[in-house]
């Protein structure tokens, strides 16, 4: 990946001489820092910089999705990502909890139904309150907010265009690109653009999506199909090859197996060939089974494309200004301090090549960058051991290496994998199937056996994993794990009690107390 990205090239930015007139000789810029993109990274960076008394501006502009969906300040996480996703996931979990409640003695009338028209507006209202909250915060911290679409003119100059097309020019001592990404559309599939939607639209739908086909196998695809199934809709997932690419594959299969047993339909190794609209208004999707070559069809109310995200770089004019991008990913090449190939231009968040596409890393990188630029700090962002959680119906929390990656780095003989299938206590009375609740700890084989990777599937996986992220960051070992006392009764204590290794071949199912 490093070979594709040659940074630190001192290229002469385009338009240099035209802007020399605009720029005064004494480097008197409009702003000390101009951030393009008001999402997780951009907002954190700008607010931190303003704390140092610097003149900061944020340009945030949302181009509508092909379906016409638009949203306010806050970026992907707030508007069309983490926040609405987690809330709808919660809606789905509550449906399950209500069913369990009956076994615990609650008298609940059957059947229980879900109303999209109650959930979606409540989620959307909360998002709007966050948009407002961010707006107030920026104003309060003296960060100038401009609802304008920014593009680079040279290393210190940005062209800003309003929604009515009015243009203005802004200059800055430093520029941070934090424009994030947007869902990709498989435009080679006829009907994909006209009839399909993406994660940009699903949370803002005015009506229930009904019977939905989710195309893709990323966490976005699985999380969406998961909550749609959970709220009682007929949801199918169409997977071209493997689920959750990049994640531990053993765990990925547990996640999808659980979803399958709870009602999500899977079309494995299939690829859609076209989408047509029927007279009824429903969508007819045709697809090919990649193994057999067989064609098949079905009708759906909604087709949700979750086939990857593309970095928002097209409209930024990066090549002209000399900002190097990775030709494969289209993302901006950055060095360890988030610098691009052009001095004083930085990139953080989803737009930066090689970085995790996560809100907390974007926020932290943004803050540290501001401290390095304007404070006396030299602290770089540490991207090692970043914990994550996939909020599928069976949640999956992890930090560190997958088993495959650990084997790649240390060899099978160099690692020890401890694992256990456990049953959350709450599942017992509820008569829930716990056969996919699993814990895996990948450790170095020698010495105190430092923990390389942690994987947990089960309820509240995110809450369980967070603490272990700290442990792993501190270099925790299996020896220390063994010396730690568990909290009883919890699912998390089963992590502390891990003792069966994969190598032993023994049955890893936890038995009794």
């Amino acid at each position: 990946m490093a070979a594709l990205c040659k940074w630190r090239h001192r290229l002469k930015p385009a338009g240099f001489f035209q802007n020399a007139v605009r720029r005064q000789l004494s480097d008197n810029y409009d702003y000390d820092l101009l951030v393009i993109g008001g999402g997780s990274g951009g907002l954190a960076c700008s607010k931190e910089a303003a704390q140092f008394g610097k003149k900061v501006a944020v340009l945030d502009y949302v181009e509508s999705s092909p379906k016409g969906t638009k949203w306010g300040l806050g970026g992907t996480c707030v508007n069309v990502g983490c926040i609405p996703k987690k809330l709808m996931h919660q809606a789905a979990l509550l449906g399950g909890a209500v069913k369990d409640a009956q076994k615990y003695g609650w008298r609940i009338p059957s059947p229980i139904t879900h109303d999209w028209l109650t959930m979606a507006p409540a989620v959307q209202d909360y998002i709007r309150s966050l948009n407002w909250g961010h707006r107030v915060q920026l104003q309060d911290k003296k960060v100038k907010y401009l609802n304008l679409k920014g593009s680079l003119m040279d290393g210190h100059t940005v062209k800003a265009v309003s929604k009515t097309g009015k243009e203005s020019v802004l200059t800055a001592g430093n520029i941070v690109i934090a424009t994030g990404g947007r869902p990709k559309y498989p435009t080679h599939i006829p009907g994909s653009l006209e009839y399909g939607i993406s994660s940009d639209d699903i949370f803002w739908l005015k009506e229930s999506p009904g019977k939905t086909l989710v195309v893709g196998a990323s966490y976005i695809a699985l999380e969406c199909a998961g909550f749609l199934t959970g709220i009682g809709l007929d949801a199918s997932v169409m997977v071209r090859s493997i689920p959750l690419r990049g994640f531990d594959q053993q765990i990925a299969c547990l996640v999808t197996d659980y979803m399958g047993s709870y009602g999500t339909k899977f079309h494995w190794k299939c690829s859609p060939s076209k989408v047509e609209k029927l007279e009824t208004g429903r969508l007819l999707v045709s697809w090919t089974d990649l193994d057999s070559g067989k064609e098949d069809q079905d009708t759906f109310d909604t087709v949700l494309w979750a086939v990857g995200r593309a970095p928002e770089t097209r409209a930024l004019n990066l090549e002209k200004v000399g900002v190097k991008m990775n030709r494969e990913t289209g993302k901006v090449c950055v060095s360890a301090d988030e610098a691009t190939s052009v001095p004083h231009i930085y990139a953080i968040g989803d737009i930066a090549d090689g970085r995790p596409e996560l809100t907390p890393t974007a926020i932290q990188a943004g803050k540290l960058l501001a401290r390095r630029l304007f404070g006396k700090s030299s602290e770089l962002m540490d991207y090692d051991c970043v914990p994550t959680t996939v909020f599928t119906p069976l949640e999956y929390g992890s930090v560190g290496l997958s088993e495959e990656e650990a084997v790649r780095r240390h060899g099978e003989d160099g690692i020890e994998v401890f694992h256990a299938f456990y049953k959350p206590l709450e599942f017992t009375v509820a008569e829930r199937d716990a056969s996919h609740c699993y814990i895996k700890m990948v450790c170095l084989r020698e010495g105190a056996r430092r923990i390389l990777g942690f994987h947990f599937t089960g309820p509240n996986a995110g809450e369980v994993t967070q603490g272990f992220a700290l442990a792993i960051k501190c270099g925790a070992t299996y020896t220390q794990l063994m010396a730690t006392v568990g909290i009883h009764p919890t699912s998390a204590e089963e992590i502390i009690k891990l003792h069966i290794t994969k190598r032993s071949g023994l049955d890893p199912t936890v038995t009794g107390c």
Partner: protein, 124 residues
Amino acid sequence: MARQYEEVTVRGYDEFMKAVSQRKGKDVFAYFSGSKNEQGVSWCPDCVKAEPIVRGELGYLPPGSVFIYCQVGERPYWKDPNNEFKKTLKLSGVPTLLRYGTPQKLVEEECFKKDLVRMMFTED
């Protein structure tokens, strides 16, 4: 100079809701304050401080909008966590300045900041 907005003064929850329902489709801004006594002074010191600041920005209200000045009631009524303003309108404190039907609101000390008030009146 003719005002571009309509100012309405109400007392209590019922009067407030009536004023709002009579102005459907309009951009309604509401300022909630602890009620004033016969001397015209509110029991709520923050409300006393914020009112001139909010009033100072009224010129920035969008044309055709409505500004409702609402006195919520006496201190014991306000302190009751079940009063209609808290329960139904979800107000958490006075003064509160909000844009009805949107999540836009400024609460307590936020109302002291004229740039925040102006921002609410001038931005979408």
